[in-house]
Symmetry: C2
Subunit: 163 residues, 2 copies
């Protein structure tokens, strides 16, 4: 999983649908484009991925648009980010089995592995619905135990920004 502004846009779009597509009315990409300041072409690209990931379904023709494929309470931020990003290519660090450099597991492997799990646990605990409900305190969530996290982590380039 990569966290990029593509993922950010994906989440914004999903939240927009949940906020504006009440009563089963589909939301058009043109409407999302205006509200979220995302170009239509780029949205089309994003929704291609979201649709392939089973997160939205579309209704074609005039009056059509997009709907969430599941209740907002069942779609996590991790789901969205995973959907819009391509599968990963290994770059710096080989996978956990092979070790990091030339068969030797690097001294910091555990650290980056733990960090990735830590991030994932957060993103997996937050749903689209929670983002829409402003009163939810995202700073004190109940996270799933680490044992339930099945991901394997790699650190690549940019990761986050905390000034």
């Amino acid at each position: 999983m990569r966290l990029t502004s593509k993922g950010r846009y994906g989440v914004s779009a999903m939240v927009d649908i949940n906020n504006n597509g009440k009563e089963g009315k589909p939301v058009t990409l043109a409407a999302i484009s205006e509200r979220q300041f995302i170009s239509l072409s780029y949205l089309e690209q994003l929704f291609r991925s979201l649709r392939a990931g089973g997160l939205v379904r579309s209704i074609r023709g005039p009056g059509g648009g997009y709907l969430l494929a599941h209740p907002a309470s069942e779609i996590t931020i991790a789901n969205v980010i995973q959907a819009v990003n391509e599968p990963i290519r290994t770059t710096l660090c080989e996978n956990a089995v092979r070790g990091c450099h030339r068969g030797r597991r690097c001294d910091t492997h555990q650290l980056w592995d733990a960090m990735g799990k830590h991030i994932y646990r957060f993103l997996d605990a937050v749903t689209i619905e929670m983002v829409c409900q402003k009163e939810v305190d995202l700073n004190n969530l109940e996270l799933k135990p680490v044992e339930d996290i099945v991901t394997e982590v790699r650190m690549e380039q940019k990761i986050a920004k905390v000034s």
Copy 2:
């Protein structure tokens, strides 16, 4: 704070010094270069930042090298990553005071803010010493309460990779 492979290299180098510079002996960049597979030139660039950040001190001349400026138990991963990365330029999201787009705080602002804090709390809880002590379980750390976190968060491009 950005998490990049530059930060990764920085942490590797700091861990290397702690592991190999016992008894107050300085560690040369050439030695780190060999052990960690980082080019000497690039290490020089990294250590310029680490030194400016007060994390290492140098001893010049033959027999010289670098020492940790503080005990490994007092240097956090957040410290290292902060030191090697340039100050941040705002791109997508304005700061917390100004709002996100044209004065309007975006619907997902809280989410990315909370995510940044979540990541920071982890990196601030892990010290160089902990990374060196393989028996520490980084997956179940005691984190500082959110109230004590003074950072402000922005999401930019790539953020993390969790396959």
